[in-house]
Symmetry: D2
Subunit: 301 residues, 4 copies
Amino acid sequence: MAIVLGTNQYGKAENRVVRIYRETPRHEIHDINVSSALRGDFSSAHLVGDQGNVLPTDTQKHTAYAFAKEKGLVSIEDYGLALATHYVEDIEPVTGARIEIEEFAWERALVDGVEHDHTWLRKGQEVRLAAVTVEGTGADQQVWVVGGLKDLVLLKSTGSEFAGFLQDPYTTLAPTHDRVMATSLTAKWRFSSTDVDWEATYVGVKTILVKRFAEVHSKALQQTLYEMGKAVLEAFGFIAEITFSAPNKHHFVYDLSPFGLENNNEVFHADDRPYGLIQATVTRDDAPDAGPAWVGYTGLV
Amino acid sequence: MAIVLGTNQYGKAENRVVRIYRETPRHEIHDINVSSALRGDFSSAHLVGDQGNVLPTDTQKHTAYAFAKEKGLVSIEDYGLALATHYVEDIEPVTGARIEIEEFAWERALVDGVEHDHTWLRKGQEVRLAAVTVEGTGADQQVWVVGGLKDLVLLKSTGSEFAGFLQDPYTTLAPTHDRVMATSLTAKWRFSSTDVDWEATYVGVKTILVKRFAEVHSKALQQTLYEMGKAVLEAFGFIAEITFSAPNKHHFVYDLSPFGLENNNEVFHADDRPYGLIQATVTRDDAPDAGPAWVGYTGLV
Amino acid sequence: MAIVLGTNQYGKAENRVVRIYRETPRHEIHDINVSSALRGDFSSAHLVGDQGNVLPTDTQKHTAYAFAKEKGLVSIEDYGLALATHYVEDIEPVTGARIEIEEFAWERALVDGVEHDHTWLRKGQEVRLAAVTVEGTGADQQVWVVGGLKDLVLLKSTGSEFAGFLQDPYTTLAPTHDRVMATSLTAKWRFSSTDVDWEATYVGVKTILVKRFAEVHSKALQQTLYEMGKAVLEAFGFIAEITFSAPNKHHFVYDLSPFGLENNNEVFHADDRPYGLIQATVTRDDAPDAGPAWVGYTGLV
Amino acid sequence: MAIVLGTNQYGKAENRVVRIYRETPRHEIHDINVSSALRGDFSSAHLVGDQGNVLPTDTQKHTAYAFAKEKGLVSIEDYGLALATHYVEDIEPVTGARIEIEEFAWERALVDGVEHDHTWLRKGQEVRLAAVTVEGTGADQQVWVVGGLKDLVLLKSTGSEFAGFLQDPYTTLAPTHDRVMATSLTAKWRFSSTDVDWEATYVGVKTILVKRFAEVHSKALQQTLYEMGKAVLEAFGFIAEITFSAPNKHHFVYDLSPFGLENNNEVFHADDRPYGLIQATVTRDDAPDAGPAWVGYTGLV
């Protein structure tokens, strides 16, 4: 038996890059949190403290900011691809690179109803996500792109049931045929192509997720998530699979009967913890291999 | 010399009340975080542990939820007034009550471009605030209402300078005539009346704040805040004063020169800490006395 | 009627200064989060954007770090006094300065039971606080020092009651003579002198707070807080008053009766929100005027 | 091509269970955040909204609290094993269960130097972790137990270098032979046995991690982590592997030269973001298969 180095990766996490395009008076803004991780043979750094193969995380920071200028920063998927490919192709010991990105959306300030050229409000709704993994060079190069969103808080005040469930001696829950259903959605979708209109796809996926959440009469959050995922896959042939993590943000009907008041699903306590947590993937049965697409780095994406 | 009880208050903080109106198929939603604090003679609770004057915080919780049904929950200022007045008028030992509210806005889900009747997305932008203080009963009753917002993140990518400042031996900052200016705005405004269209006023204040942030060519965040506040007071005669707390969310131009790249205010590092913090009040010189209007409770409002 | 500038202050918030003393092999560490705010006549900055009186917040940042070397950083109260006095005495337009500090404690790593010379673990328990305000120069100079702590989480599993309370139609709470009482304590104490052994006093105050929380049989959190404060004032003649903000971190007895299990105060649900919140000050009846001692800046202290 | 359901799991996350043992006047306290996830054939819930196989998350909540009484809550690994085994063995559709636990440590209050029987301070240092996975029943049952900790903040003020690293055109970093090295450590170790003294092992692992962090002269965080992991594996034969996620919490030497001050590693800025992030596993070359041991649920563990 021997003690050996196992899986490892390292990089610079949470570079807060803001890119302004200002070629015309109408500026554009892109605001991201980007992390890079390098994979390869760094065993000498671990085993004997030899940094000869280690590109400093400080260098990765510089590269993240420099690429926002050199390569541009419009679609986070493209920017992530540029960074990941660079590390694998240009830095000798690197055999794989993982780029994870959060993007914060801004909307233009309105002045007398007109969009302002260079002033914005942070939208504050969901955070857009991307995770790009590149391995190998030349003909052997493989690329995985994941898009996504998190912190999209959805609620419906009717059209949701929960009944007919399994019971055991610890079960006291009453079935319900009308409840509030709410979640703070995380969704991530894996592309099977990089020849994608990233912006249109993002808008399209979000639109479908919201639409299906709204219009599916829900017998369980599981069912709603499945319908949401299925609709996304039906709409976008280049999305191989989509995965959800959906806390059931409980809204408990507040008992007002001691005070002589009826509460017909009108007044709720929005509870913090504990919460139900549903996780599910909807996939194509011929989806290409996920490889390291889901092997994360920061826990942010 | 004696040791005595000083100022004190107590209550139930952060009741997460959600109120759905569902009389028609098109539901309405109001989602708040409400805290109540009671003031009065509770010295026997402190000095000898006698709770005879202490209305339990559990009761205050029930009241917050019950009032969302009994009195309704549409405008948070009205709901806060109902709660505060109730405590002062109906609970014998209570001489003053403070109600603090955060409100989380929702927007309707769009299904094929049409607003859905009972499904929403949390907007996620700013949090709306209210703080209501009531003292006394009958002819002696006094009422103070503060409205506000927090977490409104604003940024302009040009139109901001910082130059001509005072220098001392610790000063190394170079003046600039073109910089990114950004803040996460907290603004609170004190009403001199309760005969107010709360909803229209809130929308109006936010609109003015954003407009003036956008259109004022800024020589300092101080100046911009003053212009924002002045415009609000000019527009709403029943607002006595407005106070701002505005962190200067620094966006530092990233030095790309070591890499042979120009950076003409295009690539920034959005830094976390430390940050400049500007606080200022704009007021009328004949504003009525603020009394306990600004005497807080939870630190949330 | 005119619109005018009201109260204002500005500064650099949350400078994360770490000071290592390394004159001997046994290093010392001090780790703080310090904010400075300047008060004075800055009206021209607000009204016309003239920065002539404005010492940049960037300069205040430099000063915070430089003073950690020039003046030293051992007791946060002394370091705060040095900074505040500097601004008032050396920067012409400044008539008042507020310094707020959080301190994070470290304990030495143990290697084979022996304290290590230059390795530490962050203690992680309470955060120590200080707030120093200085106004005026020369014979007119006035100084206020507040010490404190926050995030000290205390719990007792018996020896706490809540009964005999006021009831109204919204009251359903049953009285209890044995409950868990827990809080995350914030306490701040105002010194009436600066001729104080700050380190010994801090340890002494914390020790007394914990001791009295433990040994007072509690009929209410209010009573316990009063006893804690009274003991501190009795022990330290140079503490004029002490103020508490104490959330009642509810531990609800979990109802296990549906499962045929007794629960004699053995299994609890530690709830997040809402929570009772008790605030009280214990003071001397001859305490010197508090002046601006409690006029805050960042909301951190 | 068909769209199908992929991997899925569901449960109740973040049950905040507090267990007091009070058989004698000297009480004991155990304070945890526990999540349970069930795995099995829940496809009908997803595909057609049929809950017949779905044990409600509300039931899982009850079970978590009930088991704290029925089975006891002392070592989180034992408690997790009891819960996971129960779900797999007693709930028909469940083929696998994942229990994730955070534990918050408390220390006894001191009253005149003596430990109090029923009053505690939350220690506040690291959070202890456990993740238990059980699959199958009877002879086919397999069990995986992971222990761990997070938020253990370590710092050494000398004895750390970073030099001899790889350089590319984006590299500007100067090598250093004396720097502050700090991290907020997450470490998780996988047991190859369940016949373990969980409490002694936890203390032992933490002691070794701290000791090696302190005494290894570091040429890189990678090297230090490897030495820490190696020492743990050498000490505990029943630990198969240990994995680290270690942000490099940068302490930048503050440039005081513009103010005529030397800064010989005495004054630092503790920066927030970005940060280096090192992740590595140290393992035995004959470690048993990890199976689903690392397949997470909440993101908390």
